[in-house]
Each structure stands twice: as structure tokens, then as C-alpha cells.
Symmetry: C2
Subunit: 565 residues, 2 copies
């Protein structure tokens, strides 16, 4: 709109107007249902933004109640509490406009009961409410379960500017090119000549989301020629990570600013400066670095938001538990991570040494608890009941489950949360023991394929050996029977992970995957393993999501299905 202003017959006044406009983006870490906490964070940001001379401060989507609130939205009391938050924020809007995200009630009887709204507060009251039109209902999203889509679109006028308010997905159908949607909110508002766009988001992280998001914002700027102020949130809500990376994009398509990843931040922008453009402040986006930081935040927030400080986990000497422990140590402090080494008769010598080495490198407390006594006690009772059947996966599972009992006992006695150490590859094919090594309150690397776990270990070691080199280089083994190797039961991880990626992330069927050059029998075997193990994944911990398709709430599969199985 800068161009239009310069062509205007009264450039002087126009420039004066824009000089007055300062927009603050508050990238905050909300907590679902913690109205008091969210409100006090927002009020502190309002104050800070005011002190910095901002005219407007923008918060994230559903910032009153936190995102995703899920079925809490079905409780009238929960909505009332969100409304009370908005009222209190309105009282703080006498000298600064506040744009807050909140659920609002649909006064029309027909349709869903709620809207997902951006509310513009100023002078102590609601100046404008714009509902969200595009309601993501895929992967982890269930918005159409709760919300009615907007059908009316109107910019809000404030201090001589027209501002197009949008909520998250609303800007993801640029020029109606997103096949999922049939409306395009900014197309609707364009004829009313808005001066700039504000977007309130709860846009979740995956290792590609930063680039994708910038692409979407640039496409909007290209289409509408308007500067965009995009406020994402930062923080983890159980499995869903919001990395922040809020954006300001100039009309020339340059990223005027990209807010930091994985932390809270408040920054104020002069609209005039943004209009000028010519500055590109994109951050680096390195996959392993992003995954590392996302998981660290995921652990930290899971514990912090549940009111816990300490973790416990089993350390086998293998790479999965080593990486999990390293990430936990960074999230919680090594002194708060109790490592438990539980050798059995099948454990190799290096297992205990490697595990102890890791604990010592990080400075974590550790305990050694041999499982032989418990295992023998179980087997002693079971021998007659097993009717002479040979050693098989049952005995392996008894070892894994005995470890689970020890870990949970320490978790219960000391009020720690047990961390699950399964990786995505083994979760996919069911290579793990339910109620054994699949125990834990939070799956730390359950969205990281085994081949990526190796990369992550190298990343953690980039400034020196923290994870023992032997842990990274030795052949993976569950050590539940003599000389066992993962490769006895599974294809090589490099191949396995590629097949899994095509099936899970890309949702390719067997024919398509075989056409890519993979062996037909191997593909059939892997896909079958994935499908017959839904029952195991159904009962495992929430998985910190770092890819575009994680196990858990974003991937909903029938258990009794008979498909490729």
C-alpha cells in the first residue's frame, strides 16, 4: 500500500499516519486451560509493548485458553473463562490496541456452537471480531469438531488504517490454490482495501515448517502487495510443538523479521520501516538443530506444565536411550535426570560401560539395578505354566517388563516422570515390548527414525564426545537373547526407514513404494508390520512431534482393520 500512498494526492498526511503506527508481535508460550497464567503473560506483554510505544500488540490463536484445547471446548464453563480473559484484556486496552485469539459463541442456533476468533480490543472494549474461516481438520487438527467457519469478512479500522485480521489457516489458501478449501478470506477483504494483514497463529512445528510458512507468507504478499504481521506461539502442548518463528514480511516479499525459534519474544515494528522492505532477516533452518531444539522444548514444557522437575529413564548403552538422556539433560538439567542401568545375563560388557560413560559425560546421577533376581522369580513361577514351550519373545518381554517395573517404581517413589526411549522405526514395526521398554509418560524420540537418531547423536556430539562413540558405532541390539542384533529381525534401517517414510509421511501404498525400486516382499512385510502393530502404538505415550506425520493424535488408524495385514 506504500505505493498507493505515494501516488496519493496527500502524501504528507499519509506518511504522517503511517509514522504513527507501531505493531508489537508477542510470541508467547501459552498453557491450555491455564487462564490465569495466559492472562498474566499477556498483560505483562501489553505493558511492555506500551512502554515500547506500540499502537497494537498481537497475540496468538486461542491465546486465552491455549491451543489445542480439544474437548475442553465442549464445556460451557471453559468458554466462560475464556470470555472473562478477553474482558480483562479489554480493560488493559485504553492506550494500546490488543489483538487476542479466543473461542467465541455462535449466536445462531444452526451450525457449530463456537467460532475461533481474532478479537480487536481498544479503548476498553471490543472494536471488532473476525472469525476464522478455514478450519483445519486433518492430521493433529480437529477444528471442525468445534467451530463454525466465518462467512463474513471485514477489516477493522484503527488510527486511520484498515487492518485485515486473519487466524492461522485463513492465509493458507492463497488465491484459492489450496485444494482443501473453497473460500479465501483475504480475497474477500481485498476489495475493502486493507493496509496490512495481521495473522494470529498456532502453527505447529515440523522440521520443514519454518520454510513452508515463509513460502506461504510470501505468496500472500505477492498476491495482495500488503505487509504481513504474523504472530505464532512458542511452546509445547503435550506432543504438539509450536516453535515460534513469527514473521513480518514487507510488501517487496522480503522477510523483514523472523522471531526466534523455541522461545518467547516481544518485538515492535514501525509500519513505515516494514513498508520500505529491502531487509531479509530469515534464520538458518538446519534439520538436526531444529529437531534437537524442538525436543528439548517438548520435554521442558511437558514437565513444566505438569508441575514436574525430574525424569527417570533406562540407559541400556544403546543409541536410543543415550540420545533421549542427552536431550532430557539439556531440557531439565543433568542433575534432574536419573539414569538407571539394568543389566541382564544377555547384556554385553560394553553396555554398562557405555551407559555409565554417558551418564558421567553429562553429569547425571545413575543407579545400577540388575534384573536377574526379578527375571528368575518370574520364570520360577512360570516354568510349570509354560508347559515346556521353548524360549521365545515371551522371555525377552519378561526382561523388558521387569525393567519397566523398576523404572516405574523409581518414578512413583520419587515423583519423577519416566521417559520413553523408543524411536520411530521400532514403534512403526512393533519392535518393542508393550509395558516394557514402551513404558513412559512421554515419548522423546518416537517421531525420529533410527537413521535420524544417529544423525541426532552426531549433532549432540558436534562439540565433543558426550555420547560415547561406541554407542554410536556398534550394531544396534535389544540384548534380550544371546548375540541378538536388530538386523536379525529387521531390514537394514536405511532401507526400512525409507519405506516407512513413504508409507507414513507420504501415505504411499504398496504399489507406489514398489515402483520406487524397493523389494516387493520387503515392502509387503514392512507395511504389514506397521498395520498389525496399531494395538501397541495405541497404548504408548504421546510422541513429541517433529515430522509432518507422527504417531499419535495426528495418525488415526483402526486396530481391527485388515488392510495390508
Amino acid at each position: 500500500m506504500c505505493i498507493f500512498v505515494l501516488k496519493n494526492e496527500k502524501p504528507h498526511i499519509a506518511i504522517l499516519k503511517s509514522e504513527l503506527m507501531k505493531i508489537a508481535i508477542a510470541q508467547l508460550n501459552y498453557h491450555i486451560g491455564n487462564f490465569e497464567g495466559n492472562l498474566s503473560k499477556m498483560l505483562a506483554s501489553v505493558k511492555k509493548a506500551e512502554e515500547k510505544g506500540a499502537d497494537i500488540v498481537v497475540f496468538g490463536e486461542l491465546s486465552t485458553c491455549g491451543y489445542p484445547p480439544r474437548d475442553f471446548l465442549e464445556f460451557d464453563d471453559f468458554i466462560t473463562k475464556s470470555e472473562a480473559c478477553v474482558e480483562k484484556l479489554a480493560k488493559a486496552s485504553h492506550n494500546i490496541a490488543i489483538v487476542v485469539g479466543s473461542p467465541t459463541r455462535n449466536p445462531v442456533i444452526e451450525g457449530k456452537d463456537l467460532f475461533n476468533s481474532a478479537i480487536f480490543l481498544y479503548g476498553g472494549k471490543v472494536l471488532h471480531t473476525q472469525h476464522k474461516a478455514l478450519l483445519p481438520t486433518y492430521d493433529i487438527f480437529d477444528e471442525y469438531r468445534y467451530f463454525e467457519p466465518a462467512t463474513e469478512f471485514k477489516p477493522v479500522e484503527f488510527k486511520g488504517k484498515k487492518i485485515a485480521l486473519t487466524v492461522c489457516e485463513d492465509i493458507w489458501n492463497v488465491g484459492n490454490e489450496n485444494p482443501m478449501y473453497v473460500t479465501c478470506p483475504l480475497d474477500e477483504m481485498q476489495p475493502m482495501n486493507p493496509d496490512f494483514v495481521i495473522n494470529l497463529s498456532a502453527s505447529p512445528f515440523n522440521y520443514n515448517s519454518g520454510s513452508t510458512r515463509i513460502g506461504v507468507l510470501k505468496a500472500n504478499v505477492e498476491r495482495y502487495g500488503l505487509p504481513m504481521f504474523y504472530a505464532n506461539q512458542s511452546g509445547a502442548q503435550t506432543e504438539v510443538i509450536f516453535e515460534g518463528g513469527s514473521l513480518v514480511v514487507s510488501p517487496d516479499g522480503n522477510v523483514f523479521d523472523e522471531l526466534p525459534y523455541f522461545k518467547e519474544e516481544l518485538r515492535v515494528y514501525d509500519l513505515d520501516e516494514v513498508m520500505k522492505g529491502g531487509v531479509n532477516r530469515e534464520q538458518p533452518k538446519e534439520k538436526m538443530s531444529l529437531i534437537h531444539d524442538a525436543i528439548v522444548m517438548g520435554i521442558k514444557d511437558y514437565f513444566g506444565k505438569l508441575g514436574f522437575k525430574k525424569a527417570v529413564l533406562g540407559l541400556s548403552g544403546g543409541i536410543d536411550s543415550a540420545v533421549t538422556a542427552a536431550l532430557a539433560a539439556r531440557a531439565l538439567g543433568p542433575e534432574n535426570v536419573l539414569a538407571v542401568l539394568m543389566p541382564s545375563q544377555f547384556s554385553s560388557d560394553h553396555s554398562v560401560n557405555d551407559a555409565r560413560g554417558l551418564a558421567e559425560n553429562f553429569g547425571m546421577p545413575y543407579k545400577i539395578i540388575p534384573i536377574k533376581g526379578a527375571y528368575d522369580a518370574f520364570m520360577g513361577e512360570l516354568e510349570t505354566h509354560f508347559e515346556g514351550r521353548p524360549f521365545n519373545v515371551t522371555e525377552e518381554n519378561i526382561q523388558a517388563r521387569s525393567r519397566g517395573v523398576y523404572l516405574m517404581a523409581l518414578s512413583n517413589k520419587f515423583g519423577n516422570i519416566l521417559l520413553n526411549t523408543s524411536n520411530k522405526s521400532e514403534m512403526a514395526v512393533g519392535y518393542g515390548t508393550l509395558y516394557g521398554d514402551m513404558c513412559g509418560g512421554l515419548s522423546v524420540i518416537g517421531d525420529v527414525y533410527k537413521s535420524e537418531v544417529f544423525e541426532l547423536a552426531r549433532f549432540i556430539n558436534k562439540d565433543g564426545e558426550l555420547i560415547p562413540e561406541n554407542t554410536i558405532t556398534k550394531p544396534p541390539s535389544a540384548e534380550l537373547r544371546p548375540d541378538q542384533k536388530d538386523s536379525d529381525s529387521l531390514p537394514d534401517y536405511d532401507i526400512l526407514d525409507e519405506v516407512l517414510y513413504q508409507y507414513i509421511e507420504n501415505r504411499k501404498g504398496p504399489k507406489e513404494i514398489i515402483a520406487m525400486g524397493f523389494d516387493e516382499k520387503l515392502v509387503a512385510r514392512v507395511l504389514r508390520l506397521v498395520n498389525i502393530n496399531e494395538f501397541k502404538r495405541y497404548q504408548t505415550a504421546p510422541v513429541i512431534r517433529v515430522s509432518s506425520k507422527a504417531f499419535g493424535v495426528g495418525r488415526r488408524m483402526p486396530i481391527v482393520g485388515k488392510y495390508l495385514s
Copy 2:
């Protein structure tokens, strides 16, 4: 339409026409993703219907692929296989029309990729396709995740009749009075004067669904004056039960026929007879009988569809495991249910006797495995690590988890599925041990409140004492410490269950529940317990759903939420 025909100038011809129309309802038990199985079932029903002289045979919603297929719908290969099923059915439609439910592709780029369709096959080809308009996206339903709603509505013409095809929810917005929806398919079709309505359903069971469904059908008949042929499915898909109870309703509002509950059935109706009405063949709907039969089907289908025959479960002498065992014995045959009695030092004398009595009454095999050895082994290793902290819930959990290890060992060794015995009240407040008594592949009574478990026990005993009387009358206890009673930790079940019902089924908030006369502190405590135990329920088995709101896929709550907690 009967009335219109009689008013018609050519009543003779009109009656002749209707004399020729016979409609078969095939109420079948489909299996998600089992295309071959579903197809062969449908082809057998086509043959049977043909033999009985039917002009049309009607199957259920998404009968090619089974309901709910969930994210399998995102696989192109899965849709292709559904289409192949429809093609094969078309080839069987030379002498009889077939109405089948199947996902179909949306040729328009904008909007969701699929429709949920009723396909009318005749003469070897598709005569008409009517897409579903009302897409349930609440509770266990996720239809808007996958499907685009229909915007065009047209009856199909067949042998001189106009037939309005509808899919399940399409008839649940009678006269636009359902607040969730803004369209009403039969209102759209009414101006085209259909002669009757066919509905293909996958309408899930709860202990009120039978009456609700009849109410909805009668409301439709009252509004449109048309006879309705409503084909539901019968069978369980993991946690979701379809009870059947397909319906034929005459224009006079009488239930001309209601098909049996919990079994497959094919019946043929003469349209003329249905038009006449005056007959009411509703079935009795007794809550405990329905819950009993629904759970029996739930167990049977979970095992059958996964290819298992045998179950194992822990029998404590208490009422929950007794009722679970009884239901399993009825579903699988008592010889296929292995009961395991695992006494500890805290078990009372009557526990083993009551458990043994139950096993003997039903004729189930049972084993006795004391847990002392395993418990002592764990405690021996843990003693020093516990640093002198007193006996608490940790030691209780070690007992429960030792039992879990034994049960899972027997499950693994003999290829049985472990049944979970938790009731809805204890699942709600977290009164159970994760990886201990919360183990199991299927939660049998997890949607039955404790007070209802007592009713169910009485129902099971209605023709004689199968569950020992002492099991029903003694005070509930977990027997994990000396003289423990449930009432030490929990409010009386009668009160607890009422509060839970208001919170879970009715989604009432604290203020509303207190206003009903419940103690303020008790309400706060119960609601807090429910909310802080989401992490436990997240990791438990699928729960056979018998109420309008079960734990699991139909109730989606954040774990890190801080609401009433």
C-alpha cells in the same frame, strides 16, 4: 405417498407398480479394510435377496471398506480397492438393484478428496450416486477430516419409483432442527416427490441409541409422509459397536419392522405392506441386557477380526474381573478364557475362593500364581534405592505390575489376548496402576460405571448364581495394602458415579454440578482427579463403548491442560 396414490386418478396402475417392489435390508457385520470379506458377504446377501424375490438390496454405510476406516482413507490404494468392490457388485446387479455404501472420489480439486456415498447399482452399472451431506464430526466421528459434503440431491428412479437415497446422519436434521447442521437433504429432495427413503447407516450403539434412532425415523416420517428403509450394520470395530436394529417405518409412523440387535440378518419387505402400516414390531430395550450383549459382541469381534480365539485375564475375586470374565466366557466360550489368580500377602481368604468359584461356575480353566516371589525380588533390589522412604502407592503398584508381567507372559506364550478389567469409575479418577491392572488389549467394562457393574453382575446372575454372591456384596477393595477399601480413597460409588456422569456424559462444569446439590469440595476433587489422570487413560486399551461418551477416541482431552486441575 400412499394417500397421494389413492387420490390419484389412476389408482389401479399405482397399486400395480408398488406391488412389484420388494426391498431387502441386509444388516451385515463388515470388517474395516477386509475388502474380500466384505464383498463376499455382500454377494452372498445379493444372491439370497434375489432368491427371495427382492428388487433392491440395501447394505450399510461404507460397506465396501467398513466403518470407520479412519486414516486408511488417505491412501489412494485403499480407495482403489473400495472402487474395485463396487465394480464387482455392479456385475451382480443384472437382476436386482444393489445399494452399497463406499468412498468415492471428488473430481473437483477444491474441497476434500472424497465423498461418503450411497451408490445405486443396476443392470451391471452405476445408476445413481448420492453423496452424504451431513458429516458427523464429534465424539467418535471424524468425517469432515476426509469427506466433502454433498451439495446436490436427487432421487434415483427405478421401476417407476423415485427413491431418496440418504447416508446415515443425512436424516438426523429433520426439518433443520438439529443445531449442528444447516442443510437438510430430504427437504432438498421433497420437491422431486420421492416414493420412499433408503438410508445406509453406520450408526453406533449406546444403551439409548435404539430409542433415539426410532425417534429420528418417526420424525422423518411425520415430516415427509414417506416410508423409510434404514439399513444399519451389526458388529464391532475395535471400540465402536454397531448393534444393527435396522428399521422399516410405515407412513403412519409405525415401526413396521426392527431387525435384531447384535447379529446379521437379511429381510425382504413388500413396499405395499409397509405402506399399509398398522403394525408395530419394536424390540424390547432393556439397558443391562443391551450393555451385556453389546460387550459380548465387542469381545467376540475384537478377537475374531484380529484372528484370535483365546483370552487371558486376572481374576481377583472382585466384581470387575468377575463380570469381565463372565462376559468373555459368553463371547469366546469358557474353555477359551484362562483365568489367573494371583494372590499376595494382602489378599483376603475369600479372594481366591471367590475367584475360583467363578471360574468353576463358568467352567473356565484357571491357574494360581502367587506374586510374592516377584514382589520380594523387586523390593530386595529396590530397598537401598528407596532411601528409607515409607511404604506408599509405589509398593502397591509393584504388586499390580508384577501381576501384569505374569498375565502378559501367559498372553505372549500362548498367543492369548489379555483382557483389561478396569471399570469406568476407576478409569475416570485414575484409581488403577498403569502397566499393572490397566494392562490389556481390550477394555471390556471401561465404559461401565462401578454402580452399573453391580447391575450387570445381577443381570448375569438372573437365572442362577454364576458370579459368587460374595463377590457382589463384599466392599470393593484393591487389596494392595492391609485392610484396604476403595472407600478409603474414593467417595461412595453412587455419588462418585453421578458426578462423573454429569461431567463426562453431560459435559457439565463444576458450577452446574454443584448447583445440582453435590458437595462443592467433592465436585472439585472428583473433576480434578479426572483431569490429572488423562495421561493414564491415554495409554490404556480401547474401551468397548456402551454409553454416549466413552473414554478413548470419542473424548479428546489435552494431557498438559491445566483446567480444574
